[in-house]
Amino acid sequence: MSTPVTGAAKVPSAEPAPTEGDLPMVDQPAVSFVEIETLRAREFIPAAKEALSSMALEKGQAEVIRPVFNWAGRNSLFPLHWGLACCAIEFAAAFGARWDAERFGVVPRSSPRQCDLMIVNGTVTWKVAHKLITLYEQMPDPKWVIAMGNCATGGGPFRTAYSVVPGVDKLVPVDVYIAGCPPRPEALLDGILRLEQLIRDRRE
């Protein structure tokens, strides 16, 4: 691979300006980013090296780094391992052998410091609201929230109860809502995949 050209100052003006053919892949990146989306981790690093150096010539730093971070982030979503009510049963089933959410890189972690996704899987009461906010604030940025089930979405059957928060979006920002009482594990997986789409399209 030829030396990456990082700026005009590094190119001595005495030398003849390189012709287009000398520069690596000005028109076409070696590996297009659409292709990178489908790579395995093992193949990713050489391909990314190639692509990054060529892309960095053409586009700004943010344009190059952002898709890589999005790719990495959305393929290793770590949700908080907790359960609030009956929806937690379906949450647990989604990580069991039958639905196996871990094939999407979704691994429940027990500490909020290691999480970037909070799946609110059940009824949120006012008693637990403080703790939920604390857990959310302990998660490092960037972080996402999925409201799973009718209770977390809008209070569900307990909407008018004296003890229930009518929707977790009163407490923390929510990215994906999943309807159902409870939603099936397929619905939870669908919600996670939709969240991955959101992360893919993320631009700062």
Partner: protein
């Protein structure tokens, strides 16, 4: 089946005008007593009549008055007994039983926050099921379901 000796023993202590026992299905009976006697009655129940276990403290809202209900269990007799005291709704106070039966602690916290019965000399009368600072007693008949949006949760400093 009213336990005969229970009625006699209680009557021997306080007579029958401040306390009487009536049959109640499935138990040794239901004792209605003057709320001022609560600690004395419970102590006699525990020390003399072998009701060593306090299974439940409940509050009931009858609009005009409120009722405090204690359920005691005796391993020796294999029987429950109910104790009930009526207190006026406008001064819903009764002495805490937790100095005699420590298990009364959480039951009384629950009855306090849901039915608004204050237990005097309770060691730790805090909210149990509703959040701290919750102003309502939601199981009272006078409680109206408010719009949930009017409730506020205050962010605690983390």
């Amino acid at each position: 089946m009213v336990g005969e000796d229970i009625g006699e023993r209680l009557a021997g202590h306080w007579g029958t005008d401040r306390l009487h026992i009536e049959p109640f299905p499935g138990t040794a009976g239901k004792v209605r007593f003057d709320p001022a006697l609560v600690l004395d009655v419970l102590r006699v129940m525990r020390d003399e009549l072998q009701f060593a276990h306090l299974a439940m403290v409940a509050g009931i809202d009858w609009e005009k008055h409120r009722e405090v209900l204690y359920a005691l269990w005796s391993d020796e007799r294999k029987q429950y007994i109910l104790l009930s005291a009526d207190i006026p709704a406008e001064a819903a106070h009764i002495e805490s039983a937790s100095s005699i039966y420590p298990s009364a602690n959480w039951h009384e916290r629950e009855a306090w926050e849901l039915v608004g019965i204050t237990f005097d000399h309770h060691p730790d009368l805090r909210h149990l099921l509703t959040p701290d600072g919750y102003k309502f007693h939601p199981l009272l008949r006078s409680f109206k379901l408010h719009e949930p949006e009017t409730l506020e949760v205050k962010r605690r400093d983390v």
